[in-house]
Amino acid sequence: MVVASPKAGARRHTQPSPLRLLTAVPVCDGHDSAVTTINLELARNGAEVVYLGYHCAASAIARAAVQEDVHAVGLSSYNGGHAIFFAEVLAQLRARGAGDIPLFGGGGATITPADERVMKRGGVDRIFFAGTPLAEIVAAVKGAYSRELGPGARLRGDRALGRAITLAEGGARGARAAGRARGADRAGRAFVLGVAGPGGAGKSTLIDELTSRFLRRVSAGRVAILANDPSHPDSGGAILGDRVSAIYAQDDRVFFRSMATRGSPTGLSAAAPEAIACLRASGEFDLVLVESVGIGQEGDPFGVFGRGPRMADAVLFVLAPHYGGRIQLQKIAMLNGSDLVALNKCDQPAAKAAMVEVAARLALNGRDQLLHGTAAARHHDPGVDRLYAEIARLAGLEAVAPGAR
């Protein structure tokens, strides 16, 4: 692998990029106690941990490792079958041109020294045995895997795109060139939808449900998701857990990237504009969904009021019925600035009154903003269907009759 630092002049930050890791529990295994503890400890020590969850298929792990462009992948296995499973993850990584991403893991005492020898021969980098202190695991992982990730001229496809975003996060301008691997002729046609809303409104679930509709109704194209999550203010680390509940992102037609805000106060990573530019430039995507962190009343992550760069072709604001009453509603800036509004969790008892209040609030703007009641957690929610149809219309996406697959 080519390891070279971007030119110093091209960097916004003087800090080196934090260690980025992907952690997961293998398929048919729900033991997440150890991995969540280790995630927390790694994040407290400054690492960005992309967590994929439990019961993860080898293909999903490799896909995530590539798209998230992590320094290493860690697996926590307690249900046996580890030798075969780790080997399968390595094979999947190699198949995706990511054989250079180191794989480490542990499984209490279920992984024996004899297993370790077999697994290491197969390419597993390191196994942590039962009783290894947390501090020792953190030190070993940081020591072994922290390094600057360079442009990697030989990277292809999602691997190249993942790296381009990494370079953008490291402060490199013009990173998009690295992402322009294919489809330059189609560059720029992606429709970028910003999704903002307070924490807990259900943005991630709604985005995932929109993804499932895209996959069902658009026959060939791809969708990209940039999920922004806050970095911890003290340690600089982060646990990026949006992939856990993104059940429809387990598909090669979806490019999902988790971004930590790394101190940016806007609700998006400072590298988000560059990352969006990379996604547009790749020409791969029909739709790009950018999820902000949970925002407050004044929040304007996508620059709709002209105070920052305008990043999205349209903005969807998501809120839940418990926003705190009519007066609070008046103060939410994004209700003025968004193009679409979803009142999510509309199956809750408080939703009826909330729909009326939000509609009245939007009417004051005198703009053509559309309000949709959605219940993203409900299977095949018709409200999400209508919202998707509206987005598809704005984005000029191929329309297949609902119900057709």
């Binding site: 398929v27 503890t37 439990y54 298929a57 046996g80 005492a109 279920t110 045995f129 039962a130 009783g131």
Partner: protein, 580 residues
């Protein structure tokens, strides 16, 4: 207020009632005399026995007091064994030297490889017991409702439990056992796919014992989806659909399987995932009350489903475990009686205990024999109704025969060889230390109830990932305590000696067997390829129409594999979206 708030109120009101009665017993001579008379009658009814060394002993230990206040406190605050509020025991007599027909409380969990391998282990274990008590562990693919030929799961087939894909595997699993015998009992640790697995069990039993055998089948299936979402993470369908399917199964079992316990409300996995003893008890009991709400919402009578509920707790080495079972029985009894209007049979918390897997470590692993022995002692001091003891080799393998035998013998030694439990019931109950601890634990459990109630109840708290967050916090604290040495673990952070890797033959499933399972499954699917689609169609329609799916499952399992059933139901109701 959710029903949990009402339960907390009821327990506090009951405590107030007991206090008032104690004062009245002391102040009102007539009431005091009445209590003394009753107390004398109770004493007179207790039989006697002689220990092997010639000591004369009562069959039941009672407080040595004649003071009316103390008598009232004992009878009302704790209750005689088998009497409300059941702190001292679910039944009048437990663990005493067994007479003809009695059943031992020992239950050992087994599951490895293919159905015939586990069947062999069952026959081995049965040789150590007088009654047939078969407790089944399933492999990962089965627990997630996947077939053994599902992409990417081959390495997991038969690992950590038995692989069951079809009704034919189920028949092989229990071959040679008389499942309709009065003292036979089967237990299945199975949750998300529990309705389909129970349907397979029923179908396999009918093939062997005839269509009329169903009411005779006795046992339990775990089927506790709330704790799956909170801790164990084996969830397939969205929460509401998972709970709906579970209720379908319970609704079917109540009239059709009178000897079956269709749900085992489990704290074990909550504790293994990191919960403190108080959190384990509080989350488990609150889940139990949430199920009671759900079953009532189905129109089921609390006095019909109440007696069919059972509980399953972990027993570790923390001091709270000395009283956890006692505290749980008391809260459940008061809550069911006063907040749910349940009659006596539905007030009794029937408890299965398993010693803590999490407390066992790989270093100096034979120390695990001691840990398990101590936990067993605590379990029986809590009056557990049945118990599984872990094998010392569990940190690194599915238990091997040698250590399973030792674990089984540990229980026999405790109950049969030592005199602690077999001569006198409740030898230590009522000790001041236990009672002080029990009060503290009860307070702490009610505090958690209040917190969950504030969040809107169990389901709403779960939506806000309250239980998961609390469990993870506790798990993290435990790890830090272990590594700082604040929590001593002998052989790990204290008195550790560099120990060579344990030499124990590992129980692993060979790739040859894994392929055999896939071949058998494919042959089953090929044989039934013409009949399966119609059965699946009917099942899917029932699920979409929100009807009771259990009857359809009973016919679907005859021709469909578990994976086919899971896929069909997923298509109808969607997939579970995991939580961090």
């Amino acid at each position: 207020m959710s029903s949990l708030g009402r339960v907390a109120d009821a327990v506090e009101a009951y405590n107030g009632f007991v206090d008032a009665e104690v004062r009245r017993a002391r102040a009102d001579p007539e009431f005091g005399a009445e209590l003394r008379t009753k107390w004398a009658a109770i004493h007179a009814s207790v039989g006697q026995t002689v220990s092997p060394t010639g000591t004369l002993l009562p069959r039941l230990a009672l407080p040595a007091t004649d003071e009316p206040g103390a008598i009232a406190e004992y009878l009302l605050g704790q209750g005689l064994p088998g009497e409300f509020p059941f702190a001292n025991g679910a039944y009048r007599e437990m663990y005493l030297d067994r007479r003809e027909g009695g059943e031992e409380p020992t239950r050992l969990f087994a599951g490895l490889g293919l159905a015939e391998d586990t069947n062999r282990r069952f026959h081995y274990l049965a040789g150590h017991q007088t009654s047939t008590r078969l407790s089944t562990a399933f492999d990962g693919p089965t627990l997630y409702g996947l077939d053994s030929d599902h992409e990417g799961v081959l390495g997991k087939v038969g690992e950590g439990g038995v692989a069951i894909d079809t009704v034919e595997d189920m028949a092989r699993l229990f071959a040679g056992f008389d499942l309709v015998a009065p003292n036979a009992s089967v237990s299945m640790t199975m949750n998300a796919p529990a309705p389909a697995i129970l349907a397979m069990f029923v179908a396999a039993a009918k093939r062997r014992f005839g269509p009329d055998c169903v009411p005779q089948l006795r046992g339990t299936i775990q089927a506790d989806m709330l704790k799956e979402v909170q801790a164990q993470n084996e969830v397939i369908f969205p929460i509401d659909a998972s709970l709906r399917f579970l209720c379908d199964m319970v609704e079917w079992c109540i009239p059709h399987m009178p000897r079956w316990y269709p749900i085992s409300i489990s704290g074990y996995h909550i504790a293994e995932a990191g919960a403190t003893p108080v959190q384990q008890a509080a989350f488990t009991l609150s889940n139990g009350f949430a199920y009671a709400d759900m079953f009532r919402a189905r129109g089921l009578d609390v006095n019909r489903f109440g007696p069919r509920l059972s509980f399953f707790l972990d027993c570790g080495l923390d001091i709270e475990y000395l009283v956890l079972g006692r505290a749980c029985r008391r809260i459940w009894a008061v809550g069911m009686r006063d907040a749910f209007g349940a009659g006596p049979k539905a007030q009794v918390l029937k408890l299965h205990t398993q010693t803590s897997g999490r407390s066992l470590i790989a270093a100096d692993f034979k120390d695990n024999l001691t840990r398990t022995a101590v936990e067993l002692m605590l379990s029986y001091l809590n009056g557990t109704n049945s118990c599984h003891s872990n094998s010392a080799d569990e940190p690194f393998t599915t238990p091997t025969e040698e250590y399973v035998r030792l674990a089984s013998h540990a229980q026999s030694i405790l109950l049969e060889e030592t005199g602690v439990f077999k001569h006198t019931m409740n030898v230590l109950s009522g000790s001041p230390g236990l009672l002080a601890l029990e009060r503290q634990v009860e307070h702490a459990i009610l505090d958690v109830f209040r917190e969950i109630d504030t969040l809107g109840g169990v389901l709403q708290a779960m939506d806000q990932r309250y239980q998961r967050g609390k469990i993870q916090e506790s798990a993290h604290r435990y790890e830090r305590q272990v590594y700082s040495g604040e929590r001593p673990i002998i052989g790990l952070n204290r008195y550790a000696a560099p120990s060579p890797a344990p030499r124990v033959p590992l129980a692993r499933t060979s790739p040859v067997k894994q392929r055999l399972q896939v071949e058998r499954l494919r042959a089953f699917k090929a044989r039934n390829s013409r009949r399966a689609p119609e059965a699946l169609q009917r099942l899917g329609n029932a699920a979409r129409a929100r009807g009771n799916i259990f009857a359809e499952l009973l016919s679907a399992v005859e021709v469909c594999s578990l994976g086919q059933i899971t896929a069909c139901l997923t298509d109808a109701v969607g997939k579970f979206r995991p939580m961090v």
